[in-house]
């Protein structure tokens, strides 16, 4: 089926022509009175206006957050958890509407937003509601009369800068632990994809006390930077790329506050020869694992963008993999059959094309794709054919995240060579290992320098499995209760129950 285009009669999504910032529980105009047009990558046309906020608006949001922080921090864990669950319930009741909006704003197929983005975002609020209820501090008897108590306290007010590849899900990854831990948040959505988060805030914003959640829209340099630099935030969380990551750490160093960063990867997907041993379901599963680079148009920090295939099966595996890829055709993202949607923005499209260009110039062989394509009826949209390069790991297309539906393929002779190629990268976010041998799987998973190694699976993002990077891929672990600690202080109360003086002075 095909969903009606947002704003047309019968569509589940009707956008306002203009949105505001959500500050202190109210919709507030940006101080400057300026707005920017929000463009859908599906057809390249603007569909709503979003505030072009600046430092004044960030300050206003921080005022609201600071006014709310004491009461929210003291709100009983049970109550906070209940509110998070309520947010999840309202999202679930509006799942289809939010999924269609996310597709329209980001360009990803509705098949994915319905099956992944929304269900995962909803579950994230429930997961952290659960973690919160089960959380305990610590207590230790240091000697007969002395007891040490460890209690968790919120940091206070935190700043969060959200990427455009999974706008609502990435917001959920950051918001759920921060709110659960008792913090107030000032969140800046990506300027490419602010719309669904605003629709979401219309639905759930007032479930939370005023000022606990604040959303300020705008450009990185005008709104993100004053948030990241602000002395009134106790922590900054950012997902994006390395230079901005460095800048955020630099700003944080000026204020002596912690950061968590997720900065991308160049994830290897390793296929050992035994995947081909039998013509069975597992062989098909491994071929599907190869094709996972096309998920979300490759706009995933963990895109399996390097495929390393055992030389013994290289030809057979690659032929079958290419016929699998040939079935992935860009189409209207609102069509529930479409497997590949639009790239999120024009500059993203241009960057992907520039990488295809350097790949060819470096001598990588383009086995399929390698070009922009048009989808009938959506001529202004940003579509790229799934692209498979063959080359070697020194090439730029093997070393930098293209963030498009592209995979670079090479072969290996031995286990050691596979691991050496896998680790020959600046990044260490994700990796895939495909084998029928539990010994090979475990050895490989331990030898790969990456925070997440999918073994005989890929692109699963369940809550309660920690996600984060080694090397240049960032700092911190999301999607697990350990993220609560990234949003908490530890209070130690060291108590003497001895009525007698120490006799020291």
């Amino acid at each position: 089926m095909r969903y009606e285009q947002p704003n047309s009669t019968g569509s589940k999504v009707q956008y306002k022509s203009r949105y505001q910032n959500f500050i202190g529980g109210k919709w507030v105009e940006p101080r400057s009175g300026s707005y920017f047009e929000n463009i859908s990558p599906v057809d390249g046309k603007a569909f709503c206006e979003v505030p072009r906020s600046g430092a004044d608006d960030i300050e206003l949001a921080l005022d609201a957050a600071h006014a709310a922080k004491v009461a929210w921090g003291k709100t009983a864990a049970g109550t906070r958890a209940q509110l998070l669950n309520k947010i999840a319930d309202v999202m679930e009741a509006n799942l289809e509407m939010l999924a269609v909006s996310e597709t329209w704003d980001n360009g990803k197929p509705v098949r994915e937003t319905l099956a992944a983005d929304l269900p995962l975002a909803i579950d994230h609020f429930r997961y952290f509601a659960g973690c919160l209820r089960s959380e305990e501090g610590g207590m230790a008897e240091l000697d007969e009369h002395t007891v040490s108590y460890h209690l968790k306290e919120p940091l206070g007010v935190v700043g969060q800068i959200i990427p455009w590849n999974f706008p609502l899900l990435m917001a959920a990854w950051k918001l759920a632990p921060a709110l659960a831990a008792g913090n107030c948040v000032v969140l800046k959505p990506a300027e490419q994809t602010p719309a669904t988060i605003l629709l979401w805030a219309e639905l759930v914003g007032n479930i939370l006390p005023d000022g606990v959640l604040n959303i300020v829209n705008g450009f990185g340099v005008e709104a993100g930077k004053p948030l990241a630099q602000n002395r009134r935030v106790a922590k900054v969380a950012f997902t994006g790329e390395t230079t901005t990551g460095r800048l955020i750490m630099q700003y944080a160093s000026e204020n002596l506050i912690p950061v968590t960063l997720e900065l991308g990867g160049k994830s290897p997907n390793i296929f050992f020869s035994d995947v081909w041993q039998q013509d069975d379901a597992f062989r098909q599963k491994s071929l599907e694992g190869f094709a996972m680079f096309a998920l979300n148009q490759g706009e995933v920090c963990t895109c399996p963008s390097r495929a390393l295939i055992d030389k013994q099966i290289y030809g057979h595996f690659l032929d079958a993999a290419l016929s699998r890829v040939a079935q992935i055709k860009p189409g209207n993202p609102l069509d529930s059959e479409t497997k590949l949607g639009a790239q999120a923005s024009n500059d993203q499209l241009e960057k992907i094309l520039s990488y295809i260009d350097i790949g060819k110039k470096e001598g990588a062989k383009v086995l399929c794709g390698g070009e922009r394509v048009e989808v009938a009826g959506l001529e202004g949209g940003y579509y790229v054919a799934p692209t498979v390069f063959e080359g070697n790991n020194a090439m730029r297309v093997f070393q930098e995240e293209i963030f498009g539906p592209c995979v670079s393929v090479t072969s290996f002779d031995s286990f050691d060579e596979a691991i050496s190629i896998a680790n020959d990268t600046l990044y260490g976010l994700g990796a895939g290992v495909w084998t029928r041998s539990t010994h090979t799987a475990y050895r490989a998973a331990r030898a790969i320098e990456a925070g997440r190694v999918w073994t005989n699976c890929y692109h699963l993002y369940p809550a309660h499995a920690a996600f984060g990077g080694y090397k240049h891929s960032g700092i911190g672990r999301e999607t697990h209760k350990m993220m609560l600690e990234h949003y908490q202080q530890t209070k130690n109360i060291l108590t003497s129950y001895d009525p007698n003086p120490m006799g020291f002075f």
Partner: protein, 120 residues
């Protein structure tokens, strides 16, 4: 027209040069740092000069319109066989790069260096 201001491995199109001049008129002296990683990664970031602290391992690739262009040392090692050309396209970016509010985005186009190509 692509040109380089010095013996460097980074050049710029006339459109990029014009944008640098326009940004400099509004923001003062500028700097570039080549980013890596996801989202807006692989894109060059344009900041007011001195905004990003240049570290001991950053490499100065060259200057464009009197604007220094840096890349991280580790990334340089993996990019040094290519010659970069700064260009500009309509877009929005997502980092803190100065041009994004103008509705344009700097982008890098690349060629394989003649020296490196001769070696292979």
């Amino acid at each position: 027209m692509v040109g380089s201001d010095s013996a460097s491995t980074v050049g710029a199109t006339e459109a990029a040069r014009e944008l640098i001049r326009s940004l400099r008129a509004r923001h003062g002296p500028l700097m570039f740092h080549q980013s890596g990683g996801c989202c807006d990664g692989s894109a060059p970031m344009c900041y007011p000069r001195g905004e990003l602290r240049i570290g001991a391992r950053d490499v100065l690739l060259g200057e464009i319109e009197e604007t220094p262009f840096y890349i991280g040392g580790d990334q340089y090692e993996r990019w040094k066989h290519t010659r970069l050309t700064l260009d500009v396209v309509p877009g929005r970016g997502s980092g803190f790069s100065l041009e994004a509010p103008d509705g344009v985005r700097f982008i890098i186009r690349s060629d394989v260096c003649a020296v490196a190509a001769a070696e292979t």
